[in-house]
């Protein structure tokens, strides 16, 4: 029986890339991505959350800015690279922009695959590359005033592991 005869079975997975101001629902995003695909045996996901403390200062609010156009292009390139490295089915990368407060969700990465090893590794890879290659910038509001968040050497080191 070929794929066309079985409507529930997709021969290729989906790549979902979204930049949005609204919050996201992790459960709904996973359900939509899997879409009842019986080939999916593993789902790995990562959620990045806004903290109330960074570099020793209390953070009351944070604003995320991005480079429209390049962001989507960069995320798409990162997703393609993950597909070249691992046998994965679906990828979703959702990143919020605009003002955010502590406990708010910032970023979501989901990977589906047949087995867990590929999904775990690809999810971590996507997140490491997103942090160092996708054009987003954070500005924090602290009691001392506003400040742009500096890039971290540890993020560069995390991305270096994969090269």
């Amino acid at each position: 029986m070929n794929d066309l005869a079985r409507p529930g079975l997709r021969s290729e997975g989906a790549t979902v890339i979204r930049v949005q101001t609204e919050d996201f629902d992790v459960g709904a995003e996973i359900a939509r991505l899997r879409a009842g695909n019986p080939r999916v045996g593993a789902v790995a996901s990562f959620v990045g959350v806004c903290r109330d403390l960074n570099d020793g200062a209390a953070v009351a609010e944070m604003t995320l800015e991005h480079y429209p156009g390049m962001t989507e292009k960069a995320l798409d390139g990162i997703a393609r690279e993950a597909r070249e490295r691992w046998d994965i089915i679906d990828i979703a990368m959702v990143h919020r922009i605009g003002p955010m407060r502590p406990t708010d969700q910032i970023v979501l990465v989901i990977v589906t695959s047949a087995h867990r090893g590929e999904a775990f590794a690809a999810c971590e890879f996507l997140m490491d590359y997103l942090k160092t290659r996708a054009p987003f910038w954070k500005k924090e509001r602290t009691p001392e005033g506003e400040r742009w968040v500096d890039a971290r050497a540890s993020d560069d080191a995390a991305a270096e592991r994969w090269s």
Binding site: Y67, I106, K131, P135, K139, A151
Partner: protein, 99 residues
């Protein structure tokens, strides 16, 4: 009367770049976008950066060799020797901090 012979070559076009600035650079340079008529002799990112530095103190400070910034040409990460051509979109921004 002899017909006038017209010069059919295309008129000389100036090299226009669409330049964008983000985050800290946008704030300290006081603009998010501008059209730049590329000065003669400037052919790559390093040349454009050197020319921008001559605009004044904020430019010299933000784009100083010791500071951390990135450049993208047509929405791909670029290096100093990446060429810049007519119609290109060139963006200057700090190292990224998303996620």
């Amino acid at each position: 009367m002899k017909p006038v012979r017209l010069d059919c070559r295309a008129p000389i076009e100036t090299t226009m770049l669409n330049v964008l600035y983000f985050a800290r650079l946008r704030e300290s340079l006081g603009r998010d976008t501008e059209k730049i008529d590329l000065p003669p002799g400037v052919a790559d990112v390093a040349g454009l950066t050197a020319w921008l530095r001559t605009r004044g103190e904020a430019w010299e400070r933000e784009l100083a060799p010791g500071r951390s910034w990135r450049v993208a040409v047509n929405q791909d990460m670029a290096r100093g020797d990446s060429p810049v051509r007519d119609g290109d979109e060139v963006a200057f921004f700090p190292p990224v901090t998303g996620g």
